[in-house]
Symmetry: C2
C-alpha cells in the first residue's frame, strides 16, 4: 500500500479525526510529508474531558498537549486555512506571523464542528453570560463564571447538556436543565430509558423540564432571563447545549459537496466530491452501520475510525469505512448511561419491525457493598438479530455492557447469543451472569410464548 512517490498530504484540523488521519498516513507512508494546519495555539486538546474541567476534577493544563501525537509530522498551530483551491491542489493559510500557500497531493478535511443554536436561540449567543461548550477556553470561562454564580440554566439535555448541568451542580449551583423534546437524551435513548435518566438527574438535584422549547433568552440587569413553556428563570448564567454544526464553510466555498445542513458528503472511502479530498469526523454526513442510511455521528470514536481510513487512503490505500453504531456513553455524578446501534424508536422510524426487552439486573452480586442496579434494553429485529442496546445505571461500568452489545451487533449476533455468552465472574467486578444474560432470557421467553 505504501507509495514510493513522496506525497504531500495536507490535513486541516488536528482534532481526533485529523490526528488519527495524520498518524495513519505517516505510518503507512514514512516518506510522505504530512502537514496539519490547526487554528489553536496548541496542537492537542481533549474536548470530552471539558465537563471535568468545569467541575474542577481536571485542570485546564491536563487536557491539552504541546506536541503532536505522531513523530515526523508537521502540525502548524495558530494557523488558519483561508482558501482551498481544488483545481490547483493548494491551500492558502495565514497565521499571526505569516501567510502562504502549500500545495498538496491529497487533502484531508477535519475541521470539526461548532456549537449551534436553533432559530430563536441564535441571537441568545450574543448575550452576556450565555455560553456554549466546545473549546477549553469555553470550559474555563464557564468555570470562572460558575464560581461566582448561584443559579444556572442549561438548554438542551443531550450528553453535553447533562454533563455540564452535573458539573455546575457539583460546583454548588442550582441548575435548571431545559429540553425542547419530550425526554432527556432524546436521540440516544428510547423514552422509557430516558425517563430513568431524568429521574436520576432529579435525584442529583437538577431541576429538569422536558417538552419545554425556549421562547426567550434576554438580559435583565445583571441576570439572564430564560422563558420556556409557561415558566421563567432569572439566573446568573446560561449554557446552550443545543447541538453542533459542521465547520464546512471553507470546503463548500471551494466547491465540495455538502448536504442541506452543511455536512460534507463522502463515499465509502471517505472521499468527497473532489477525488483528491477526503473528509472525516464531525464535519461529514456518515452512515449507520446497520441500515447504511445517512446519519450524523459527532463522536470522537467515529472520527477516530474515519481518520484511520482517510489517513491510509490518502497515501494510496483502499480501505472502506463500514459505517457507525454511534456507541455513546455518559458518566457523571451518580449517573451512567449508554447506547449503541438503533433505539427502538429509530428502528421503527426506519421501517424495521423492531422488538425490545428491558430488564433490571445487577452489575455485581447483591451482597457486595458497591453492587449497582443496571437497566438493560435490547432491541432486535424480526430475524432476531440484535440491532441496538441501551444501558442505565449509577456507578456500574456502563462501557462494558455497551461494548459487548456493539461487538454482538458488529458480528451479526442473534438474541440467543446473549444467553450463550460466557462472561467472567468475580464478586468485586461482576456476577455469575450479567444483565445482558437476563435480557436474553426475557427475549427468548417472549419468543417462545409467541410460537
Amino acid at each position: 500500500m505504501s507509495n514510493s512517490k513522496k506525497l504531500n498530504i495536507v490535513i486541516i484540523g488536528y482534532g481526533t479525526g485529523g490526528m488519527t488521519a495524520a498518524a495513519y498516513a505517516k505510518n503507512t507512508c514514512r516518506e510522505c510529508n504530512i502537514i496539519v494546519f490547526e487554528k489553536r495555539p496548541y496542537p492537542v486538546y481533549h474536548p470530552c474531558a471539558l465537563p471535568d474541567v468545569i467541575a474542577g476534577y481536571l485542570r485546564p493544563e491536563d487536557v491539552i498537549e504541546h506536541k503532536p501525537l505522531t513523530p515526523g509530522i508537521k502540525v502548524q498551530t495558530s494557523t488558519e486555512v483561508k482558501r482551498i483551491d481544488l483545481n490547483n491542489r493548494r491551500i492558502q493559510y495565514h497565521s499571526v506571523n505569516d501567510e502562504g500557500v502549500v500545495e498538496y497531493d491529497k487533502l484531508i478535511l477535519a475541521m470539526g464542528s461548532t456549537p449551534s443554536a436553533p432559530g430563536p436561540l441564535r441571537e441568545a449567543l450574543k448575550i452576556k453570560d450565555v455560553y456554549t461548550l466546545k473549546t477549553l477556553e469555553d470550559a474555563m470561562t464557564i468555570r470562572r463564571k460558575a464560581l461566582s454564580s448561584k443559579e444556572a440554566v442549561v438548554i438542551g439535555a443531550g450528553p453535553i447538556g447533562i454533563e455540564t448541568a452535573i458539573a455546575l451542580r457539583e460546583l454548588g449551583l442550582k441548575v435548571y436543565l431545559i429540553e425542547a423534546l419530550s425526554e432527556v437524551l432524546p436521540t440516544a435513548l428510547d423514552k422509557d430509558i430516558g425517563s430513568i435518566v431524568r429521574r436520576m438527574l432529579v435525584e442529583e438535584d437538577i431541576e429538569v423540564l422536558v417538552n419545554a422549547p425556549v421562547s426567550e433568552v434576554s438580559r435583565q440587569g445583571d441576570k439572564v432571563l430564560v422563558k420556556a413553556s409557561d415558566k421563567q428563570f432569572l439566573v446568573d448564567m446560561v449554557v446552550l447545549a443545543t447541538g453542533m454544526k459542521p465547520n464546512s464553510k471553507l470546503a463548500v466555498e471551494a466547491g465540495i459537496k455538502a448536504n442541506e445542513k452543511g455536512f460534507i458528503i463522502v463515499d465509502e472511502y471517505l472521499r468527497t466530491s473532489d477525488e483528491d479530498t477526503y473528509a472525516v469526523g464531525d464535519l461529514i454526513q456518515t452512515w449507520d452501520y446497520i441500515t447504511r442510511k445517512p446519519t450524523i455521528s459527532m463522536l470522537a470514536t467515529t472520527a477516530f475510525h474515519q481518520g484511520r481510513i482517510a489517513g491510509i487512503n490518502s497515501v494510496g490505500g483502499n480501505e472502506k469505512y463500514p459505517g457507525t453504531l454511534s456507541p455513546f456513553i455518559l458518566k457523571t455524578g451518580k449517573i451512567a448511561a449508554g447506547s449503541t446501534g438503533l433505539t427502538k424508536t429509530k428502528a421503527e422510524q426506519l421501517g424495521f419491525k423492531a422488538y425490545s426487552a428491558r430488564v433490571l439486573g445487577w452489575d455485581k452480586p447483591h451482597y457486595m457493598p458497591n453492587a449497582d442496579k443496571v437497566y438493560v434494553k435490547i432491541v432486535y429485529d424480526d430475524k432476531q438479530r440484535i440491532i441496538g442496546g441501551q444501558v442505565v445505571c449509577r456507578e456500574c461500568d456502563v462501557s462494558k455492557y455497551v461494548d459487548i452489545i456493539s461487538t454482538l451487533i458488529k458480528l451479526n449476533a442473534n438474541v440467543e447469543t446473549l444467553i450463550e455468552l460466557e462472561t467472567s465472574y468475580m464478586p468485586r467486578l461482576s456476577d455469575v451472569y450479567t444483565p445482558l444474560y437476563t435480557a436474553g432470557e426475557a427475549i427468548l421467553r417472549r419468543i417462545k410464548r409467541k410460537k
Copy 2:
C-alpha cells in the same frame, strides 16, 4: 419442552450448578417436584467472595442466604445423601433428625469439589494451623487465626492462593506465596503474562517463590515449618491452595462413570453414563469450547451454564452444552488479571499453530488521574481466528476486556475484528480506542510484514 407428567427431580448439592439446575427445571416445568439435598445448614453461600471475608471486606453473614433462590422448590439443608440407587432410581439420605428414601425420575449431581493436595502435601492437611479454603467456615477460621498471626505461607499460586495471600497481607501478615511450577497462575496465563502478575505481587509486599515444590510441612512447637526448594519458613499458619478434587465418590460407588481423576464423564446433554442422571459443575470433566477436548473448568460461570442445560434437560429438554472458554478474572489489592480461551502454551500443547501479540495500553486517557496501564495478549491461530486472550492491569475493569474477547471467540471472530470494534469513549471510563484495538494493530502489522 414442558412435560405434562409430574416428574420428581432430585438434585444433590445447592452450589451454583445445583441452584441453577433447580431454577431452570422449575421454570421449565412448573408442575414438577424439585427436591435439592444440601449438607450445609443454610442453602446458599458464595464461595468466590471468601477472600473478602478473610480480609474483612465482607462479613460472614453477607455471603450466605437463608432461602433458596427459586420459589416452589424444596431445598433440604443439613442433609447428606448416603447412597444412590440407579436401578431403582432412588436416593437414601440422612440428616440430624431423620433419614429416608426419595424416588426420582431424573437425578442431577452437583456435589462440587473439595480442596486437595498432591502426594507429599496430603498429610499436611492434618497439621494444626494448616488450612484450606472452600467453605465459609474455612474463611472464618483462617481470618480468626490470621488476626493473631504474624507470618503465613500460602502454597499454590492459582487464583485462590493469590487472593488468599493478598487478603492475609491486607490483615498485616508477612506472606510467602510458594508455587511448584515455574510461574504464578500457571494454567490461566502464559509465562510472560504470569511474570507481570508476579512482579505486582512482589510490589504488594508478598514474597513469591516459583519453581519451588514443597518438600516438607511439619509442626515445630507453636509454628509450622515449610520447606520448599532450598528455603524454609517457620510461620504461624499455612494455607494450602493446591487445587480441588471432585466430590464424586457417591456417584462412582453407584456405578456412574468417571475419568481417572474422579471427574464424572458426561455427554453434550450433560447426561452421565446413567441415562437418568445428569451432572454439572466442578464435579464433571467438561470440554473446551474451541478444541472440544476434555478439560476441567472449576468456575462458577461454567457451573451456571451447565446447570441451565441440565435443569432444562432433566424435565424433557434437549439442550446441548457447547463447552467452555473458562473465562477467569482475578481482582485483589492492586492487581487485576484475567484470561479466556486458550493460552499460547496450551494451544501449542494441543497442536495448534498459535501466534500471539502482547501490547501495553491504557484503560482511560493518560491525563485522567485514575488512568491505568493494561497489558493485553491476544492468541490467534493460522487462520487468524482469535482463540484466546489474557489481560493484566492494576485497577482497570479487567472483566470488560475479558468479556469482549470471549464474545469475539464465541462468534468466531478474526483478528481484524479487533480494529473494527467500535468501543465507547468517555474519559472517566475509557479512551477513544481500547488496548484490544492496539493488540489488533500489532497483529495486523505482523501479518502484513510476513506477506
